[in-house]
Symmetry: C2
Subunit: 733 residues, 2 copies
């Protein structure tokens, strides 16, 4: 099939993105890093982060080798697997790891430079930090589209003339998401455990026992804490969204190949539409990035407006552009699909704002948590847990409405479950996810900005810069906390829509697995005793054949196990943080006892030991939850078949999403309730109320930075594993 | 249709049960209540509890009147509702309230008598407390079966000769569960808020600020705390299990009427089988109750063995008896069904034991939480939350396996989704729930025993009885904590199976609603344009007609909203406890400040004010979550139809069950971790470790006694509302 010229926009956007990332990186490197002490501290953090990443990639590499061998065995020996999977799996993982590596390298070079720029002015600091964050954003979308474009060219050359060409190509490409997912899982879980072990450990001994401030150089765990911001919040977040980005584009392409199968011309357009929207999104993100600038001496409000300006303009432009793209592509239902894109964009914005409402100290929920500190830590906890649970309402309703609207817009408001209406509707859900993620270049830049500003603050504190500089880095950091909260809402929302698109495209993968199985001689007989032909079967046919209704005990059991999997996964990661933090606490206590003179600034603590403990704990603790996430869908698929898998995915998606919102918002609200007290309410720093809110904040740390965000990956990875293992599930029928 | 003679066993068992309850009540009343101070305190608690119940019944009565009028309007004016619903709804609520009233009356009379009996010996105390608990157990099962038997006689007389007689009768009877559900909701939520507002409030000021022990008469909230044990743990738990008991029997009867519709003879037997198993269960529970006795000077281990003896013998006997009952009834698949009953019984036991493992200080999980207190309250919280989440694994897997096994045993290991195989399989799931609940007479006795012993301890403390007596009541109380934990596991497990049976019987109710709608002239056309006839349609036909598969966005949205509803409901009840506890804290502080001499025993605190605050808070706070639980399924039914409802029920069931187990176990583990420290580990009472575990325990209070148990009702009530509103859902098609 001839690839239309317009498709070249995709590789061009990808290369532009990477070039601009390189440009921003060079620009940042030209900035001065500051005085000797600042350089020294930054180099400690950089070394720690790189050492961690190296160790992490070793472990993940081993997992990848084992899985690739397994896939190769299934593909080439058992022949129940798409033959491209082993290779696609490896490239997906490789590109994801590369994006994490570049993003984190930039971040670790940027922190001291941001602190140094802040010495000259607030706006200078903002620019360095934000442009460095943009490197991460642009590398993620650039590498994502590069991988997609490359594979599309290759597979198109191979399968051009085969029947079901586009279905085969898109379902094959979908499997490279498995590599990205697996990499992302370990990056999120490992990074999350690392950062919170260091943070919680540092706080428990430093703030509570030794009564020294955050980021104090006397605290042996402080370097590890700063390293953690980079490996957890930069590399982990990047890998998470890389996966959502690729997953949403690829699953939408697969859904498009099926929805428009009857018209080869429309089919090709439907497949490249999500890629084009993403490509145009890159250019529009770049415009947004250049719009982020403030005047000399800007206030906090100005800063917030500056960032908001960038993301909002990008989002508004892509909304307009998607109407044009879909119209020019000549999609038959272009108007409806454009409204689906718009639905995704709007849903992302509302979820972000709801997150802000529930976690910002400007609103009642967080203020009430701070108030509760007057009756002690227990009421802070009860109130925070309650608020987090209530805060799930709006995001779930928004996602529910977005699902329904994007489905109905795409298929012309048809709720009849006819084959064509379902297929087009599901394509609409996919394209809504693409819409939400289309401006990832700039939204991820604002996310990655946060930990860079945080680290800059740490650097300024540790190198004893003047109070004025510290004030500026505090302002930059506070801005980062706001963007982090909305960024988390966005990451969860997009993960939910992506997982839903993956769930829908699972049946496409089952179809191809059945086609391959038939070629090997397997036959399929339906309940009426008739032969079942996957080539011509529609979505309702598959639903009927596999009995995917809610009275099938396999579906119900799947839903139960899916709900439980989300809780179990969180329980394991919470436990991991508790254990790792305890090890850190013991080490910090040991150093305070054994290395005389730390607290009087006469001796330097052994930062390296703490970095090592965090690294070791994170590596050891990420294995069990990681393997569990991969094993559960495989086992459920073998025991309960397609019906069980769909139940499992629906259950884990609904529960995992709700649980993730709960944990992220409770954690964010506790964090800001503590900040509110620190700003002088209810007795201020050092008061009993402050101690009560510190307990809340500490409990919230693994909530919002380890377990909650890891659920984003869990819900996507379980779908991905099911997709890649479709052949095995069919072989077990 | 002639009701077979054997059915008379049901009313006979019911009356026997009530007579024995009366006998145990009289026996308890004959015991002496102790000295003047003991009588006075008991009368304070009794008055508070009765005042609360009166107030509660007023509010609930108002809700009932509104709902009954609504149902009457729907039934007699719109004619979209079963005409019996308004009456059945009221009797269900009335009997449930009556059971709560009797149970609580007994409990409040028993506490001082238990304390007094404990002065004579441990075994004396156990007997009084346990036999008083048995009153609650026997009243619940007696009234439950009485209501069922009465309705069966009445409806059989009315519908004897109509077509679909038994289906009509059983689906009508099922709706009386709605009354029990609604009553239970307010009892659980209101009671849960009451008890924890008082408990948390009393602890926060008393233990933490004023440093006086638990149940100290100087604490103004101490009477409210003791009242709370009665209204929350006795009346709330009783209403919860009354609902599960009736719900499981009635939904199984409805499933039986459909599963065996082709053979009128078998059909009748299938309908009465669950009632007969429950009736025989009453006699076997009585045997168990009489077996609970210990010798003079029994040790703690002996006590535990005494209780275990009673419940285990009853369970073993009903296991054997169910084989006999089903065989003698002449059920065609009697052997398989008996194994389904056995599955339910075994599942209940395993869930109870898993609960004990995760919450008892004899095992590692709770010990590790206590250990974590060495690094402060935050790690106690993180560890406890993590443990609670991990503890969901076994109960969910047990329920999943129980669903599958009871389904397969009943239909002869048939996983094909043919109409007859599904219907028989679902009947098997229902009868497993009946099996789990068949010995409720004695299991509920052990549950109700706990708060009676707890109150006896409070009475002994407040009236200043000697240390030896206090030791004995402490031992009785400790025993109650163990039975409370396993009892909670049992309540959750049985709620899950009951909700599942209700979910399955929902389609029966939809069938009858469609039949009524057709009589009014509504027609139903399927996707192929053919007329759809609910009279002859089978389960797979309904699934296909309503498109209840997982690619239907209505189903997916339903699952999302169901998952969210569980979290929202918990968030609201957690928030309610936080607000109510804060009000209590302020009142207690006020009394300590304003009433001079409280702490030096010179003045008596104003207990009444605290009782009033708890009562008022509980009444005000239970309304919103209560109405929400009723409103959500109505709105979802109108907007998303049958497909949306089934998604909603599956989502809320899976998430609600998992969340309930998490909250109950985390709460139980924190409670026992605190007890462990109090017993002298990690510094003992008053140490920093103790303070850290007290925070955990306080957070755990609403977890395990308000939000967690209320979820049991939520998952059943949402099914019940859907069932009763089936007519409305069909009218909106």
């Amino acid at each position: 099939m001839t690839i239309p010229t317009v498709f070249w926009l995709v590789p061009i956007a990808s290369v532009t993105s990477l070039c601009m990332a390189w440009y921003f990186f060079r620009q940042m490197m030209k900035e001065e890093e500051g005085n000797e002490r600042m350089i020294e501290i930054a180099s400690h953090v950089r070394k720690g982060a790189m050492a961690y990443l190296k160790q992490q990639y070793k472990v993940v590499g081993a997992v990848f080798v084992v899985l690739a061998v397994l896939f190769a065995f299934m593909a080439y020996y058992l022949k129940i697997q798409n033959p491209w999977v082993p290779v696609a799996f490896l490239t997906g993982g490789f590109f994801s790891a590369l994006a994490g590596f570049f993003g984190m390298k930039t971040a670790t070079y940027a922190s001291a430079r941001t602190a140094n720029a802040a010495r000259k002015g607030l706006d200078k600091g903002l620019k360095v930090a934000f442009r460095s964050g943009a490197v991460m954003g642009l590398v993620v979308v650039g590498l994502g589209l590069l991988d997609i474009a490359l594979w599309f060219f290759i597979l198109n050359a191979v399968y051009a003339d085969s029947p079901l060409a586009l279905v085969t190509i898109t379902t094959t490409m979908l499997t490279f998401g498995m590599g990205a997912s697996t990499q992302a899982l370990f990056a999120r879980v490992g990074g999350g455990i690392y950062t919170k072990a260091a943070d919680v450990g540092a706080d428990l001994v430093g703030k509570v026992e030794a009564d020294i401030p955050e980021d104090d150089p006397r605290n042996p765990a402080t370097i590890a804490d700063n390293v953690g911001d980079n490996v957890g919040d930069v590399a982990g977040m990047g890998a998470d969204l890389y996966e959502s980005y690729c997953g949403s584009i690829l699953s939408t392409a697969a859904l498009g190949a099926t929805a428009f199968a009857l018209s080869p011309d429309l089919q090709l357009r439907a497949v490249i539409a999500p890629m084009l929207i993403a490509a145009v999104g890159i250019f529009l993100s770049l415009i947004g990035i250049f719009l982020v600038r403030t005047k000399e001496g800007a206030s906090m409000k100005d800063l917030l407006r500056a960032l908001g300006m960038g993301t909002n303009v990008s989002a508004a432009l892509i909304a307009v552009a998607s109407f044009a793209i879909l119209y020019l592509l000549g999609m038959s239902n272009w108007l409806g699909l454009a409204f689906s894109v718009l639905t995704g964009l709007v849903a992302g914005v509302i979820i972000g704002q709801a997150t802000e409402y529930y976690t910002s100290q400007s609103y009642r929920p967080t203020q009430r948590i701070a108030e509760a500190s007057q009756t002690g830590a227990a009421t802070v906890l009860i109130k925070g847990l309650g608020t987090g649970m209530i805060s799930t309402c709006i995001p779930v309703l928004v996602i529910a409405i977005a699902i329904m609207l994007s489905y109905l817009f795409a298929n012309g408001f048809n709720l009849d479950m006819r084959a064509d209406a379902i297929a087009t509707g599901l394509y609409g859900i996919g394209i809504a996810a693409v819409g939400m993620l289309s401006t990832l270049g700039i939204t991820l830049a604002t996310d990655a900005y946060g930990p860079i500003a945080d680290n800059a603050g740490g650097n300024a504190e540790m190198s004893g810069l003047g109070e004025e500089v510290r004030h500026r880095t505090d302002a930059l950091d506070a801005l980062g906390n706001t963007t982090a909260a909305t960024g988390k809402g966005f990451a969860i929302g997009s993960a939910a829509l992506t997982a839903l698109a993956l769930l829908a495209s699972y049946i496409e993968e089952i179809k191809m697995a059945m086609v391959r199985a038939m070629e090997k001689g397997q036959t399929f007989i339906d309940m009426a005793g008739q032969a079942f032909d996957p080539h011509t079967a529609t979505m309702p046919d598959f639903m009927a054949y596999f009995q995917v209704n809610l009275m099938n005990p396999r579906v119900l059991i799947g839903v139960f196990i899916g709900a439980m999997a989300a809780f179990l996964f969180c329980g394991l990661t919470m436990g991991a943080v508790a254990r790792a933090a305890q090890a850190m606490v013991e080490e910090v206590r040991r150093q305070f006892n054994e290395i005389k003179g730390i607290l009087s600034h006469e001796a330097e603590p052994d930062y390296g030991r703490c970095v090592e403990i965090s690294t070791r704990s994170a590596q050891a603790e990420m294995i069990v939850p990681g393997l569990l996430a991969i094993a559960i869908p495989i086992v459920v698929g073998m025991l309960l078949g397609v019906a069980g898998i769909l139940g499992l995915l629906a259950g884990s998606l609904a529960t995992g999403f709700t649980l993730a919102v709960f944990m992220a918002n409770a954690g964010g609200a506790w964090d800001n309730a503590k900040k509110m007290v620190e700003e002088g309410h209810f007795g201020g720093k050092g008061s009993p109320c402050h101690k009560a809110t510190v307990v809340g904040d500490t409990v919230g740390d693994p909530f919002k930075d380890t377990s909650g965000p890891s659920l984003n990956i869990l819900i996507k990875l379980m779908s991905m594993v099911s997709i890649v293992m479709a052949g095995l599930t069919i072989a077990f029928l």
